[in-house]
């Protein structure tokens, strides 16, 4: 098939920006309950909603902040063992008692978890695997 009309293939609509490209950094951090998951989702008319495509880089993160990112790094770090089947706090305690020196501030994050902005107490794969 000839290359045809690429523009017609990917419908590109410059629709009204929900948050604006300049404001995309804070927009991505705000919790958007209407969005069902990140990236191209069911019901989205665009393959990539404008708020995600910011600064010519794909923002593949979901709505979570830097704390959650650090906790996910802790989850997938091989040094502390498998992460499925334990809460993050239990895994941190296990790593600590085995002398593996997990970062101490993660424990503070996990133990004073409360409110809507709190990080997830369960590991990255909980409920998904």
């Amino acid at each position: 098939m000839a290359s045809g009309d690429i523009r017609g293939f990917y419908r590109q609509k410059k629709k009204q920006q929900k948050g604006g490209i300049t404001k995309s950094v804070s927009a991505s951090k705000k919790k958007k309950p209407s969005k069902s998951g990140g990236g191209a989702t069911l019901g989205a008319t665009d393959p990539q909603t404008p708020a995600l495509f910011a600064h010519s880089a794909f923002d593949l993160t979901d709505d979570y902040g830097e704390d959650e990112e650090r906790l996910r790094q802790f989850d997938t770090d091989m040094r502390y063992g498998p992460c499925i089947g334990l809460t993050r706090l239990q895994r941190w305690e296990r790593a600590f008692s085995m002398g593996l020196h997990p970062p101490a501030d993660l424990r503070n994050l996990l133990s004073c978890a409360s409110g809507p902005k709190s990080p997830d107490l369960e590991c990255l794969w909980e409920g998904r695997v």
């Binding site: 063992g81 498998p82 499925i84 089947g85 239990q90 296990r94």
Partner: protein
């Protein structure tokens, strides 16, 4: 606990039973407050590898000081180095649940052989970064099982396998020094495999044993020896419940009696024993306890008569305790029987020695032996070498004294099944010498 002795014509002499200081060390095997959340077995292997690898790393400088230590993924071709990881044995005949679903008729027969060793088995070493097949003729796969942690010296070949030049096992753990031997003889009696309720159980034979130990039999010499028995250990398989009743259907009232009869009979016998001396009872594979290791103590409600005595102690399997500062460690046989199925040795004592050298009581758990999926510990690691290591429900009585490189000395005991052999084992705490106690009720000797 006094025993009356009637001497011929004289006044009765009172013999008093000796006592020893008992300390129960089963806390690591008890499952308190553990809540199963659907976790898998990877955590046990992680904690096992972490603990054993740190241990091996501390031993490597004395073994081969000049070689680099790598992870499996860090191996470079033709470069000699040391790696440490968990061993996995790929076995051709090992039964796999997936064989039931395979469409083609496999070579593996459905009737399970007793021993799954095959000349084509090969070994693989694994750590959290990867696994590598082991090559070379130094390691004979039939002597190893999945689940042990070792350090290997060798190099990677062009095929991507690891050619093994030398192996380091952890070796016997350090032993607390044995207390200076006392002057008096104190005995511990071990028995296992009573199988009350089975067709091979002979009530007269066990009653003979109970009467002998409690001092109701024999002349003054025999009773003097009986009064020196300070502890009685039952190492598993005390009852055998008719398997036909346990098929998931409701049990008819007349069959309900058949279910409870063996336990009631055991309670009566334990009552007699507990009245005379401290008794430890461990669960075994056929007892009404949980299936996976560590087996939890038999419920005291099963023994309404015996549990009234404070000398009656229901223990876990494996069981660890101290008597007069001599450390005992033992199981009801599942660990050694599983090693027997998946590896080869010249006798059961050699399997026991291997578990001590690998510093792990049940290396095949959770691979082929059921085990609780702990998340933060592996309770079967042997951190301190026992003075007496016993295994129950074996075919015959065997014993030896194992000496370690660090002045350790362990008495290894294989306790035979009492229902088949009529043999109990008596151990002298003074010098850790062992001899069998044979009971026979047949008239033709």
């Amino acid at each position: 606990m006094k025993v009356d002795v009637e001497m011929g014509g004289g006044s009765p002499k009172l013999l008093e039973r000796k006592q020893a200081v008992y300390r129960n060390l089963d806390e690591g095997y008890e499952i308190h407050g553990e809540k199963y959340k659907g976790q898998q077995y990877s955590h046990i292997y992680f904690t096992r590898l972490h603990y054993m690898r740190n241990l091996l790393y501390s031993l490597v400088p004395k073994w081969k000081p000049n070689l680099p230590v790598n992870t499996v993924l860090g191996l470079e071709e033709e470069k000699e180095c040391i790696i440490a990881g968990t061993m996995y044995k790929h076995m051709k005949l090992k039964p796999s649940i997936l064989d039931e679903y395979s469409k083609e008729r496999s070579k593996v027969p459905l009737v399970k052989p007793h021993n799954f060793v095959h000349p084509d088995d090969h070994l693989i070493l694994e750590d959290e970064s990867g696994r590598v097949k082991l090559a070379g003729s130094l390691l004979d796969p039939s002597a190893f099982v999945t689940g042990i942690v070792v350090a290997l010296h060798g190099k990677e070949t062009s095929e991507g396998k690891f050619f093994v030049l030398d192996m380091l096992e952890a070796g016997l753990p350090p032993q607390i020094e044995q207390p200076p031997s006392s002057t008096e003889d104190k005995y511990v009696v071990f028995v296992s495999g009573l199988s009350i309720g089975s067709s091979t159980f002979n009530p007269l034979q066990f009653q003979l044993l109970v009467d002998h130990i409690t001092g109701h039999l024999g002349d003054e010499n025999e009773q003097t020896i009986a009064s020196q028995i300070v502890h009685f250990i039952i190492a598993g398989n005390s009852v055998q419940i008719l398997q036909g009743l346990l098929n998931g259907q409701t049990i008819a009232p007349r069959d309900q009696a058949a279910l409870t009869e063996p336990i009631k009979e055991l309670d009566i016998l334990l009552n007699q024993l507990a009245a005379a001396m401290p008794v430890d009872i461990m669960p075994g594979p056929s007892d009404p306890a949980n299936f996976s290791l560590p087996q939890q103590p038999l419920n005291r409600c099963l023994f309404p008569g015996a549990s009234a005595y404070n000398t009656f102690i229901s223990c876990t399997n494996p069981h660890q305790f101290e008597l007069d500062d001599i450390r005992f460690l033992g199981t009801s046989g599942q660990n050694i029987d599983d090693l027997f199925k998946y590896s080869e040795a010249k006798n059961k004592l050699e399997f026991m020695e291997r578990t001590l050298r690998w510093r792990h009581l049940v290396p095949t758990a959770p691979n082929t032996l059921g085990c609780y999926p702990f998340t933060d510990k592996d309770p079967f690691l042997i951190e301190s070498c026992p003075h007496v290591y016993f295994v129950g429900n074996q075919d015959k009585f065997e014993t030896t004294l194992l000496r370690g490189s660090d002045n350790q000395s362990v008495r290894l005991i294989c306790i035979p099944k009492f229902c088949e052999t009529g043999v109990a084992v008596m151990l002298n705490l003074r010098n850790l010498e062992c001899h069998p106690l044979c009971f026979s009720t047949s008239l033709n000797v």
